[in-house]
């Protein structure tokens, strides 16, 4: 899932300080799972904003909501009728949800309430880790089910580099060396013989290098 973290409150205050009626809109999808932008976080942010502006002696109307998904039109449409009741929206969805809201609610300022970070998984409560960079052409069949693009700091396809030390990346002792993990896994799978064949340069056209991407699945199109 998409992982995000809440923006510093000061940044959000700065966005909304000139608006009287503000809607804080969460998303029940990915950002709820990573505890950055679900209903709970909406309530916490809205309360903090109210407290702050009250203390400053500024009257603000700050309302709360959370949508099933901000990245789907059907869940955003019900808000269309009410959106003119607000001067601005703080979206706690990922960058996709916030942008989609801006696309749909024309003329309404939409501010991001979270920083969208990566596609990843929950390692333990409160810890999320990156696992995929959405390169558009999955290669983990040949790397023991571990992605070197997401997990090697230099996205090497023929790693590990000379900076791998005791299982850690040269970038940080807290970051496992992706290629060390791949090696251990290939050994476990009895597939080390694949390791010595050089992997050719990757075609990055399916990644962000090819420009904004789009998937069309004709058989499900209306």
């Amino acid at each position: 899932m998409v992982k995000a973290k809440p923006k510093p409150i000061g940044e959000i205050i700065d966005y909304v300080k000139d608006f009287d009626k503000v809607l804080v809109a969460g998303c029940d999808g990915c950002v709820t799972v990573c505890e950055a932008g679900g209903l709970k976080e909406v309530q916490v942010l809205a309360s903090s904003l109210r407290l702050y502006f009250n203390k400053e002696g500024k009257r603000k109307d700050i309302e709360e909501t959370s949508l099933t998904r901000q990245c789907d039109r059907e869940y955003l449409e019900p808000l269309l009728d009410k959106i003119d009741n607000y001067d601005a929206v703080v979206s706690l969805a990922c960058g996709v949800g916030a942008q989609f809201m801006a696309e749909l609610y024309k003329g309404k300022p939409i501010f991001p309430g979270v920083d969208t970070c990566f596609i990843g998984s929950t390692q333990e409560r409160g810890v999320w880790v990156e696992r995929c960079q959405a390169c558009g052409q999955c290669i983990i069949a040949s790397t023991g089910g571990i992605c070197p693009i997401a997990r090697c700091s230099k996205r090497m396809l023929n790693g590990p580099c000379g900076g791998s030390e005791k299982g850690s990346c040269e970038v940080s002792k807290d970051t496992p060396c992706g290629w060390h993990l791949i090696y251990e896994r290939l050994k476990e799978l009895g597939q080390l013989d694949h390791f010595e064949a050089p992997t050719d340069p990757k075609d990055w056209t399916t990644s962000r290098d090819g420009g904004p991407r789009k998937i069309v699945k004709e058989d499900v199109q209306p």
Binding site: S153, K154, R155, M156, L157, N158, G159, P160, C161, G162, G163, S164, E165, K166, G167, E170, V171, C177, H180, Y183, E184, L192, F195, E196, A197, P198, T199, D200, P201, W204
Partner: protein, 314 residues
Amino acid sequence: MNTTTPSKLEKILAEGHLAVTSECGPPRSTDLDIVAEKAELIKDHVDAINITDNQTSVVRLCSLASCIRIKQMGLEPVLQMVTRDRNRIAIQSDILGAASFGINNILCLTGDHQQFGDHPSAANVFDLDSTQLIQTVKLMRDEGKLLGGFEMKKRPEMFIGAAANPFADPYEIRVSRLAKKVAAGCQFIQTQCIYNMEKFKDWMKRIRDRGLHEKVAILAGLTPMKNVGMARYMKNRVPGIDVPDDIVERLAAVPKEKQADEGIKICIEQIEELKEEEGIKGFHIMAIEWEEKVPEIVERAGLYPRPNLNGSQN
């Protein structure tokens, strides 16, 4: 004897001499004379001079311009190139540019992560890695093609090198990784600086067991210690460098003003010892900001004078 390029380094190795290379780091300014001065200090004592490419991710005068300068001095440059800062378009363009100035050696590297340098907020590229850079140079040279398929009329004639670090982890993969670089087309290796001789010799044995020492010329990397502080720093702070306690203790045991001499002595002893190691084809002496000591090391290690290749030198 067969050589694939006009490289003097390749010729010296092909003739069976122990090769000696060293490196110069360009300045963090436009003062190209600094490179020329460093090269001048070592030119009679080495066969080729590596020019580092923004080493440790610190912006410096570019390797290509520096290589051209020392080529124009009649010397033999080794163009170091990292894949961190350039995509395949820029990489191939620079290779063509280098070859057009008669630069015949390249050292293919991935490069340190930019967080270690003076621009940690930079984006990195890593379109290719070191192994793929080797493949690219080989394709350009042997098939006369660019990665995109275009066939060029005049090919770059590059003797292809890479680095190897026998001291990085996981250890058991380090021979396979070298084998992979050789399979990609690597012809010479300059190793990470060696201090742990026992581990290095074990790695060499594994290299020989695979017959890799006959497929690639391995140049042992050496960096003389200036003092015990440097030894401790490299032991504790520099990733991928293995400094055994006995080296630190040996330097600590002599008075401060004698430590530099002791460092040089250790380096010379290492060369003498490694000359006997089957599969070692030469030495890469990286005297970091201490280039003036290279002639002394080369002479005292019995590697001087350097071979004079008829008609091909200068």
